[in-house]
Amino acid sequence: MQGKGMAVCLPADIDTDLVIAGRYLRTKDRSVWAAHVFEDLDPVLAPRLKGAVIVAGKNFGCGSSREQAVHALREAGVVAVIAPSFARIFFRNAINIGLPLIELDLSCDDGCPVAFDLSDGWVDAGGKRYTVRPLSSRMQAILGAGGLVEYWRAHR
């Protein structure tokens, strides 16, 4: 799976309350989550996320298991998230919803192009190619299907 986008830099330890606040969770309307994504972190960030590759610090997605955090990022147009590490529930949720995550400690240059290939395991940024550990075969299969819903629709 390949992709590319413009880097949006974020700090370490972004919790899922910051991705989408609890007060917006009680709906199934995904556009609500996209409209309020990162509102408590930076209220003007949301419009910059269309076509973005988020490059964050360690432990992205810690805290609550709320899957709406992944839906909010995807609906807002985020292509992938790159971070040195992710909280484990967020990691599973992202793959299950079809949002690529890449474990890489990348120094972020805001607005610069970033490209990646998850199958071959590389990221291109700032004129350099970084090798990354590929996802487990199970996760690649889920992500390749488009998410866990699509995976099970195909595998039952």
Binding site: D13, D15, D17, L18, A21, G22, R23, L25, R26, T27, K28, D40, K58, N59, C62, G63, S64, S65, R66, E67, Q68, V70, S85, F86, A87, R88, I89, R92, N93, N96, I97, S136, R138, G147, L148, V149, W152, R153, R156
Partner: protein, 403 residues
């Protein structure tokens, strides 16, 4: 020789396994999305599987019509399925599972990050998101990567006013919010036998705040006695000689009252370093500190006196509330000027029953103090039940009194 996670999952650390789930639960928050994902996967009716639970605890009762409508759909589904359904007021999902539902050696998955709480019984208990839960409803199983383990070696006994909550904050402070990410935390050592089940549940509960996939105790006589009281038989689990990726040592006698200051659980300080900070609200409850022993301790500390700020006490379950009524604990709490909420999560997640206003400060016995969590512009200090009692009486953050 294997860690407890390896014993239960039946494979070595780093391996990927598919395992049948013994107990699976979701609440009104995650259940709505799980139901939608399950239907989209092609799920139509649940068979006769046992061990599936849905508990309404996050916004219980519903705070507005939108929430009520979403809950109505999930309630209707749960009642028509083979699931065990616990409606509003029954209590917090983790507490209900801890009242005799979860047994040592089981694989337990909850659609909530604090599902790690149930590791206190020697179960492999972990949290997932809604779509993973939907796949469990569909197939009865899920995949795991068997985690590496950290050993938290406990010696001695808690003394004075120190509580398991203070020890929990101490280890989160030491590990940091990602110090145990992808890993399981095992609580071992002779100090464990001095800890009650309620205390072990607190320690397992906070493990996710260090990023852990699970926080486990080996089932022992304390576990078996507790389960017997809830009508369940079990056998003890033996600790095998195994190697941990990292070992931490805690002498329980060294533990002093601590608070986590806004907005991180790992920014931990002695209560003595922050006394005098003015507060607007005290909240006692949640899957961390809303059990009967917590309410009884709080009542003993405030009995016959009056709290100086608004204080909300939310029992973790209907059984906790019932016992607090029967023993007079509730009368002492009400008599001191506190108010009581419906058993459930209460204001922990900032939906209802005690949301903070801009600039307000809360001393809470919960497990998260993230920015804006209990209300936009509100600040949360996390502490023990005794710290909550002392602070409620003083109207500012105060050190707990002996007794």
């Amino acid at each position: 020789m294997s860690t407890l996670s390896e014993q239960i999952l039946g494979a070595a650390e780093g391996e990927y396994v598919d395992r049948k789930v013994n107990k699976a639960f979701a609440h009104d928050g995650t259940g709505v999305l799980a139901l939608e994902a399950w239907r989209n996967m092609g799920g139509d009716r649940l068979g006769k599987e046992t061990g599936y639970h849905i508990q309404f605890d996050h916004i219980a009762p519903a705070n507005n019509s939108t929430t009520a409508t979403l809950q109505h759909e999930l309630r209707d589904f749960a009642k028509r399925s083979s699931m065990q359904f616990s409606d509003i007021g029954c209590g917090i999902c983790h507490q209900l599972m801890a009242e005799g539902a979860v047994l040592p050696g089981e694989i337990v998955v909850g659609a909530d990050s604090h599902s790690v709480t149930l590791g206190a019984f020697g179960a492999f208990a972990t949290g997932v998101g809604a779509t993973d839960m939907a796949a469990i409803w569909l197939t009865g199983e899920t995949w795991f990567r068997v985690p590496e383990s950290l050993g938290a070696h406990l010696t001695g006994k808690l003394t004075g006013v120190a509580e398991a909550k203070d020890l929990a904050l101490a280890y989160v402070g030491k590990l940091g919010t990602d110090g145990a990410t992808y890993r399981a935390l095992e609580f071992i050592g002779e100090g464990v036998r001095h800890l009650s089940m309620d205390e072990r549940l607190v320690l397992s509960n906070l493990s996710v705040e260090a990023g852990a996939k699970a926080g486990l105790f080996y089932a022992d006589d304390v576990t078996l006695r507790y389960l017997k009281e809830h009508g369940k038989d079990a056998t003890v689990q033996e600790h095998q000689d195994c190697s941990y990726r990292q070992e931490l040592d805690f002498d329980l006698a060294d533990i002093v009252p601590l608070v986590a200051i806004p907005h991180r659980v790992d920014t931990v300080k002695p209560v003595d370093a922050v006394t005098g900070i003015s507060i607007d609200q005290v909240f006692v409850g949640t899957c961390t500190n809303g059990r009967y022993s917590d309410l009884a301790r709080f009542a003993r500390l405030v009995r016959g006196r009056k709290v100086a700020v608004r204080t909300i006490v939310v029992p973790a379950s209907a059984a906790v509330l019932e016992k607090a009524i029967r023993t007079g604990v509730l009368a002492d709490i009400i008599g001191s000027g506190c108010t009581i909420g419906t058993p459930g999560c209460g204001p922990c997640l900032g939906y209802h029953m005690g949301v903070l206003g801009d600039g307000e400060v809360c001393l809470s016995t919960a497990n998260r103090n993230f920015k804006n969590r209990m209300g936009v512009g509100g600040e949360i200090y996390l502490g023990s039940v005794a710290t909550a009692a002392a602070s409620a009486l003083a109207g500012e953050i105060a050190s707990p009194e002996a007794g």
